[in-house]
């Protein structure tokens, strides 16, 4: 171990200045290293070698796990419908894997050890083979251990079989990521011991004095008391911050000034991928409006905006048309605003865009805690009665009605909060973007370009709660960690169902379902935006409709790497038609969960059957 690391360090030391630029694949290079945003390098056979590499991050040498020696890894680009072969050679001393994020692959090619395959053993190779019926901007990453935090990720683009409805003069891939010089296991262990270890934006005695002066002592005391009584912090926004992270665009820190060039008046397509382990970014180009044309790989009706929040694992394609020959800043600011990464979009190389100052950090409110009673316009507190099922009649509800807590999931030590008032926040742009002085994108603005392939009404509905205990740094679905599950979530092949996610925590969670796109319920039309990952805001209640058309076992998890590592993951098992005798496959029957209010109940999910009598108002 010492020897190899020593060699790596020595090798890196000799080429510190040029390492990152020279080693990076063409797509990730800066304009001064030859990337002019016009590249076509499709293939059908790819060789990927996973190994240890020394990488240069902001002038310091770090140890990374890379694909073909670079961070990020190579661009994998092929054409829709083509059969591709990806041979992965593992030179590590540990297991590895590659998950093709958002790709509709056969489930045993999905790359999740323990769910879809056994993983790729040390010093061995594995060949993935598939053809997928989709196009767009995607990415890939390790699903083994915490390798994703160490550099094991890269972009993946599938060109449409027919003409691309989005035409551009140049295109750039922007892979956003968070790099830590600390080993991710150490970062995770630190969070486990002190969940606020990276939070340097906590409220101080000075803030108290200022608030008391501004708002009065009484209101300030009662505000502090209400947070203190819950043992929660309004500044608990991102678990890992710039205290540990250097934020990157295409492997470049701000000081590396990654540059994209353009000629005035050209239309430029930016394929933006959030490949971070733990960082939700707000992305903007001050002075340059962006037209969003794709979300999570799939085309959406063009919508112009100035800023958008991009959850971990989400992708957005935007078009920009700079008409002024000046340098623009490509800004990815972490959601809690402890740091940012800035790159340059300029008419020529050698320019450095002015980086904006970090904006004032956002602060959580009682609404994020799920305690905003003022949004309960149902008159009385009747909706709070856990016994009655008031508020569950979706037929007569609009999606923006706040809903009182009625769900019955395990209230174990891993659940520190149950949002009492859950609201739809789908028309909100995300934490910190509520009051920016420009346009900010919300999911409710997205509409699929083409009509949804399955427009059946969902025949079944299930509710899944996002749960956690910040103090213990435990994260789960419905209070049950993956390490504790006794049964997967069952979908039946061909069925159309509605999944409602309820965020009982005060954190923003990007939730990812493998193997299926889901239609985000933003309205009742057949042009719902289709996504593979969705941000669920604090105390939010959000629904998606999904068609269980890909048989197999699929991972379903929070894409914040350490939340997943802590247990915020489940398995969605799409059972083939005719597999009614579930016992044969070892699955537990998915009979509707009995509504017993026992604290001991460890049901991994609860189904809300439309015909179930408890569902009536």
């Amino acid at each position: 171990m010492f020897t190899r690391r020593h060699l790596l360090r020595t090798a890196a030391a000799g080429s510190v200045m040029t390492a990152s630029a020279a080693l990076l694949p063409a797509w990730a290079r800066s304009a001064n290293a030859g990337n002019t945003g016009i590249f076509e390098s499709r293939g059908t056979a790819f060789d990927l070698t996973i190994g240890h590499s020394a990488v240069n991050i902001a002038g310091h040498t770090g140890h990374a796990i890379t694909l073909n020696g670079t961070l990020p890894g190579p661009l994998i680009r092929f054409r829709e419908g083509e059969k591709v072969t990806l041979k992965v050679n593992n030179t590590l001393d540990e297991d590895t894997s590659i998950h093709w994020h958002g790709l509709l692959v056969p489930f045993h090619m999905d790359g999740v050890p323990g769910i879809s395959f056994p993983g790729i053993k040390p010093k061995s190779s594995f060949t993935y083979e598939f053809a997928v019926p989709q196009s767009g901007t995607y990415w890939y990453h390790s699903h083994s251990g915490l390798q994703e935090q160490q550099g094991h990720y890269g972009p993946l683009i599938i060109d449409p079989a027919d003409a691309d409805p989005v035409q551009a003069d140049r295109e750039y891939v922007l892979v956003l990521s968070d790099w830590s010089f600390e080993h991710p296991h150490k970062v995770y262990a630190r969070l486990k011991k002190d969940a606020a270890v990276y939070n340097f934006q906590q409220r101080t005695v000075g803030d108290f004095v200022r608030d008391a002066r501004d708002n009065g002592l009484g209101p300030t005391l009662s505000d502090r008391a209400s947070w203190g009584a819950m043992r929660m912090s309004p500044t608990d926004i991102s678990d890992v911050t710039a205290a540990a992270y250097t934020y990157l665009i295409n492997g470049h820190a701000t000081e590396d000034n990654w540059t994209a060039i353009f000629n005035s008046g050209e239309r430029i397509r930016l394929r933006i991928i959030n490949a971070s382990a733990m960082t939700i970014f707000n992305f903007r180009i001050p002075g340059l409006p962006m037209t969003v044309v794709a979300a999570d790989g799939l085309h959406v009706q063009p919508v112009e905006t100035d800023e958008f929040q991009i959850g971990v694992a989400e992708t957005y394609d935007v078009l920009v048309t700079p008409t002024r020959a000046r340098a623009f800043a490509l800004v990815a600011e972490s959601m809690e605003r402890s740091g940012q990464v800035v790159a340059t979009l300029a008419p020529e190389t050698g320019l450095v865009a002015t980086a904006p100052l970090l904006r004032e950090p956002p602060v959580l409110t009682h609404r994020d805690m799920g305690m905003d009673m003022s949004s309960m316009d149902h008159g009385s507190m009747a909706g709070m009665d856990h016994g009655s099922m008031a508020g569950m009649d979706h037929g007569s509800m609009t999606i923006s009605d706040p809903v009182a807590q009625t769900h019955d999931h395990r209230m174990g030590v891993g659940v520190d909060n149950v949002a009492m008032v859950r609201v739809s926040r789908i028309d909100e742009p995300g934490l910190g973007l509520e009051s920016v002085p420009h346009r900010a994108l919300s999911y409710s603005q997205l509409r699929s370009l083409v009509s949804n392939p399955d427009t059946r009404a969902p025949g079944r509905e299930m509710e899944i709660h996002l749960t956690g205990n910040m103090e213990r740094y435990m994260w789960s679905f419905d209070g049950v960690k993956l390490s504790e599950i006794t049964s997967p979530i069952i979908f039946h092949e061909g069925e159309r169902l509605r999944v409602t996610l309820v965020n009982d925590t005060m954190m923003t969670h990007p939730i990812h379902l493998h193997g299926m796109f889901f239609d985000l319920v933003v309205d009742n039309t057949d042009h719902k935006p289709r996504k593979h990952t969705v941000i669920v805001k604090p105390a939010e209640r959000l629904s998606f409709d999904v068609t269980a058309d890909h048989v197999g076992d699929w991972a379903f998890h929070c894409h914040l790497l350490f939340h997943m590592h802590a247990g915020m993951m489940q398995v969605v098992s799409v059972l083939p038609r005719g597999a009614s005798d579930i016992a044969d496959t070892g699955h537990t029957a998915d009979a509707p969960a009995p509504a017993q209010p026992s604290e001991e109940r460890a049901q991994p999910y609860v189904q809300v059957d439309k015909q179930h009598e408890g569902h009536r108002r």
């Binding site: 297991d95 045993h108 000075g206 599950i485």
Partner: protein, 265 residues
């Protein structure tokens, strides 16, 4: 009970805990992927999946108070710390307080608690195990039952009852709070109360409140894990306990200026 017995009891406790933890492992759900791969290899990856997603163990060691105490002219070194190893559900928890009399050049008090900790509520753990006191005088071993956690309004609290091998019952309550003056400068008040159910002349403790302690420490977190501090610490004995101490001609009260380091890893 001598030290060998204590060690044996510790081993039994640890093994019992490990066994219990093992028995808590849920069965692996069946999988459709089994059909595609070697069964044993896939089973191993399933086990690893569970271990890596909520089943892992962590080791935590904290020297909360590692300090020099002026102790009114009788300077002492003091170490108060704790640590744990285990999963979310089962932890082996060690607590220790060691007092070294710099004037006399000897250990004045040293206790170590070895506990099995289980979460019982969102913010509280119940802890059971053994405590052993190494003293210049008579040693004691106690059975311990306690609750530790985070009370509303961010008070770190720890309460335990101790039953000695002689059948004596005592208890201890501790509470801490943190005022964040800046992101790194933290003022920490702390209070401790020791109680006893009966007089134990041998240990110089009397029934009722035996000793009380209050401290105020101002630390600067150079790193979250490394924080030097200064402070004051006040100790007093009460009731019959104070009488024992007065009888041997010592002060029942002492005010110390302290300087030390708080560190964890």
């Amino acid at each position: 009970m001598n030290r060998t017995h204590y060690l044996a009891a510790f081993l039994v406790l640890s093994l019992g805990m490990a066994g219990y933890a093992k028995a808590q492992d849920a069965p692996i759900p069946g999988s459709q992927a089994e059909a595609y791969w070697d069964k044993d290899a896939f089973k191993a990856s399933q086990d690893a999946l569970k271990e890596e997603h909520g089943g892992g163990s962590t080791l935590f060691l904290l020297a909360d108070r590692f300090e020099y105490q002026t102790n009114e002219g009788l300077p002492a070194l003091f170490l108060g710390g704790q640590g744990w190893w285990g999963t979310d559900e089962n932890r082996l928890w060690i607590k220790s307080e060691i007092d070294y009399d710099l004037d006399a050049g000897r250990f004045e008090d040293a206790e170590i608690q070895t506990l099995w900790s289980r979460p019982i509520a969102r913010y509280f753990d119940v802890q059971a195990g053994l405590r052993h006191d190494f003293k210049p005088g008579p040693s004691r071993t106690y059975a311990v039952l306690g609750v530790q956690g985070l009370a509303p309004y961010w008070f770190e609290v720890d309460g335990a009852v101790f039953l000695s091998e002689k059948g004596d019952l005592s208890g201890r309550l501790e509470a801490e709070y943190e005022f964040r003056l800046t992101q790194r400068l933290i003022l920490q008040p702390r209070a401790e109360l020791n109680l006893a159910a009966q007089d134990v002349p041998e240990l110089e403790t009397g029934a009722g409140i035996s000793t009380a302690e209050a401290g105020l420490r101002l630390r600067y977190e150079i790193d979250r894990q490394f924080a030097p501090y200064v402070g004051v610490n006040w100790k007093t004995s009460a009731g019959e306990t104070a009488n024992y101490i007065r009888a041997r001609g010592d002060d029942t009260e002492s005010l110390s200026f302290v300087t030390g380091i708080r560190l964890w890893f």
